[in-house]
Symmetry: C2
Subunit: 356 residues, 2 copies
């Protein structure tokens, strides 16, 4: 009994120490200490378990930063533009963080390289923080890590967080889900299929940017983007009318009175800074738009929903791996591969094991 109490108090003390340590770290991060921020980021990036402790501890401090997603086709000059935006934001006294997310493999260390390239221009400034995240296998894990890293930076009082993603595809759509304002970058003359990519990405864009606007064909790219936007908006209205708008809202017209954000097409030349000030004005106008309408809260809800679903999935997969032994899993997989059973029947089998 005595032992139990001792053990109990020892445990409590140890726990208190761990918590104090974490609270300390968060306190330091909130006071702008780069090393504390970097340590928290490394923790949430590397371990799901660490994120599960750290994010709840700092979540109440989040929700203030303006999160800007920057995505677009390869060759569009995203990184240069992100650099210029960061410098322009610094001139306006924003504390800025850049998170460069590379959903491709960790093989080349491309993300790390990005760090170093950027460093030359921006290092030495305490108001800026740069971090690269590379894929650790699963996209789900990366999206989740990105979300957690953004929360650390948000709690550390960065005014603006630029989240840049490499490539184009579902990764972008997922990661852009973390942003308040999403920029899609295009450059003149990017090949024949460009339209099909833009199609998927148009829906996530709050602002379209034609970078390298001094190149031949820029005017045509701007025109074709504007045409696609008009087409897209016409179809969105349709879509909206059919399924998104609740009958009640339609009846009292409350949603219709709110100003609608018209996606603009901005031209920039990132390497010499042309158009970047103007782009930033539009970005901040979008932020104001969100704040004046229900947009900001609506986004927070959408983000919360996604994060909950992603965490549910991760937690469930853990449960599955605990409930079904490695051997049983391998046997099932081999049986499916040999056509002794099929994936659907195998999953029904697994669910029975998880239940019991």
């Amino acid at each position: 009994m005595l032992l139990l109490i001792l053990y109990g108090s020892g445990l409590a003390r140890a726990l208190r120490f761990i918590m104090l340590d974490l609270d300390d770290l968060i306190e330091q991060a909130r006071n702008g200490r780069s090393r504390a921020i970097a340590r928290l980021i490394t923790k949430v990036e590397n371990s799901q378990a660490a994120a599960a402790k750290i994010v709840p501890a700092l979540y109440a401090f989040t929700g203030k930063a303006h999160i800007i997603g920057v995505t677009g086709a390869p060759g569009s000059g995203k990184s240069s533009l992100v650099n210029e935006l960061a410098k322009t934001l610094r001139r306006r006294d924003h504390k800025v963080a850049i998170v460069a997310v590379d959903p491709s493999s960790p093989f080349t260390g491309g993300a790390l390289l990005g760090d170093r390239v950027r460093m030359r221009d921006l290092s030495g400034d305490k108001g800026i923080f740069i971090r690269s995240l590379a894929s650790r296998g699963s996209l789900g894990g990366l999206s989740q890590a990105t979300a957690a890293v953004i929360k650390v930076l948000d709690a550390a009082k960065f005014d603006t967080i630029l989240v840049e993603t490499v490539g184009a595809g579902q990764a972008e759509v997922d990661i852009a889900g973390a942003a308040h304002t999403t920029l899609v970058i295009e450059a003149p003359g990017m090949g024949d299929d460009v339209q099909s990519i833009k199609a998927g990405i148009l829906e996530i864009a709050d602002i379209l940017v034609v970078n390298k606007a001094d190149r031949p064909g820029a005017a045509r790219t701007v025109r074709s983007l504007k045409t696609m936007l008009q087409l897209g908006q016409a179809m969105m209205v349709n879509h909206h009318g059919r399924s998104l708008q609740a009958p009640a809202a339609a009846a009292n017209g409350s949603q219709n009175d709110e100003p609608v954000w018209q996606v603009p097409v901005q031209e920039t030349v990132a390497i010499d800074g042309t158009g970047v000030e103007a782009l930033l004005d539009v970005i901040l106008a979008h932020k104001t738009h969100l704040q004046l309408t229900d947009g900001w809260l609506a986004q927070e809800k959408r983000r919360s929903r996604r994060e909950i679903e992603a965490l549910l999935h991760l937690r469930f997969m853990e449960q599955f791996q605990t409930a079904v032994s490695q051997d049983d899993r391998e046997q099932l997989i081999t049986a499916v591969a040999n056509r002794e059973t099929d994936p659907y029947t195998a999953v029904t089998e697994i669910f029975k094991q998880i239940k019991t």
Copy 2:
């Protein structure tokens, strides 16, 4: 009691009828009836519930087709190359199916357009079947639908199934997971970031293709791809040595005796057919390689594992939506958005509700 028996036998009869109908359809599909194949595909594409009935019923007939994934950057001329490959395969008397998967939005109907463009060349031939799949919101849903569609075509005795994906990113990696042989298509002069995309995609490539090889810069593209392959292979050996190779296998050397597939770089000009015969020879050489080594079975296992995990996720999300009411879900999401709780605590709460 009597009623129960009547009800029971009625139900059994109804069930038997449904099963008969499905078996009929599968029988017809296996005899090469295009309408039956199309109907099965539409069913598995549109409804997870239908796929859960249809795939188990035809799964035993699958595993024979050679599934070829074709992916690559936009503008590389994938669709033309897939067309040419299909025509070349037809000349060698293969029954060929083309599945064009568009992970971007269904907004533009790009996938459907693809159908029509291809039709002109290939329609009227009974030995060829073409189908486009567009995204229905979630990537998980699309990968799963693609896997099910491939199974229908496999059971319908197509010798070769070409799976083409638009864009580059995680979608490709997921969908390429369904293929035995994965082609990554490149074209000369595709912009500065090209290397970072190729980095992620190099690992999934069994064959690299430089299409539009008559364009300036083709030789340089081939050279840089070969350099990247050498670099990648050097790192793979490292990686392999560290984690993939089991100590036992290393000791008895069984794995090392197997011939290793050296990823070749093939040059083609799809629009005039140059190099396509040679590419097909290499594709078939890769198939033979897989069959002579443990590669074919290893791939079946990897695929089975992925499919099981994807289905587990879908089934779990259904369970979650049943256990937690719409209202409760919305309340939790709002609480997280308002920083009254955090996503991790919310998920712990949900798991409690699912358990009880």
